[in-house]
Symmetry: C2
Subunit: 142 residues, 2 copies
Amino acid sequence: MLRSYEDLRIKEPNLGRDSLTERELDIMSVLWRYESGTVSEVREGLADEPGYTTVLKILQILEEKGAIRHETEGRAYRYYPLVAPEEEGGRALKKILDKIFHGSAELMLARLVSDTEISRDQIERMRLLLEDAASRAEEEDR
Amino acid sequence: MLRSYEDLRIKEPNLGRDSLTERELDIMSVLWRYESGTVSEVREGLADEPGYTTVLKILQILEEKGAIRHETEGRAYRYYPLVAPEEEGGRALKKILDKIFHGSAELMLARLVSDTEISRDQIERMRLLLEDAASRAEEEDR
DNA sequence: TCACGTATACGAAGGATGTCGTAGACAGGA
DNA sequence: TCCTGTCTACGACATCCTTCGTATACGTGA
């Protein structure tokens, strides 16, 4: 990179607001997967089942943050996500792209491909997706 | 998704090791960008310049965590990253892929393309990258 | 020599997270 | 009726992050 500190054009913005923490993300993940869940159900969905009240507490924190809501179901509450995974994912990806890969989407994609197990089918579909994006961009130019 | 909670094959793992927090990531980002930095330099690299000792403190925490090291330079310390951005980025991407996109790399890529501004050049290079990956995978099959 | 500016070290304060224990509400069965 | 099991509510507590204020060291210039 080798930029000079006198280069004041680049400043690391501190955007990161009420992003989800590790445990909160665990729980959102369960809710996204099953579309909703009671405290017990969410608890069962976690690999290390924490205490019942622990899960409840974090659900309450998430509700406080506006990430989920609940409805009464019998004697229990059923929680529903209010933010879609794609939305949260977009935020998270943008953060990584900016702060870690400094805007290079291809570096990021290279790391994704080399670092994780992705099936050939998936790679093929991803390739087609980019082909579409490229041709769509070209069309816009005309 | 509509899976049943009786489907116990899927459990949300709690991997969450000592991952970097928001502010820590801000500071790592500066160090990655410039390859090294003193306290003052890092501070200047942040959009909202926090207090000098605040930056120092977080650098000390990062050193404690093993993410950076320092050398004496004159009367000051110069800090160097010990983890590469690609490494940290790989971890972060895997987390997002698993917990938010539930393993669907193409959904993730779709969101990346639709959500962020990526130049046509970049898209083209990404497409080539996937082409390579695909043909390499095919070769391995033979 | 002495003040000043620049460094790091130390520790405290405030807030959030993640853990849970306990209390209280309530339904259903013995 | 009363016990038991299942809920949520509330609050405690340890830990961590982030923010600084203050103390201390040290080199340089007047």
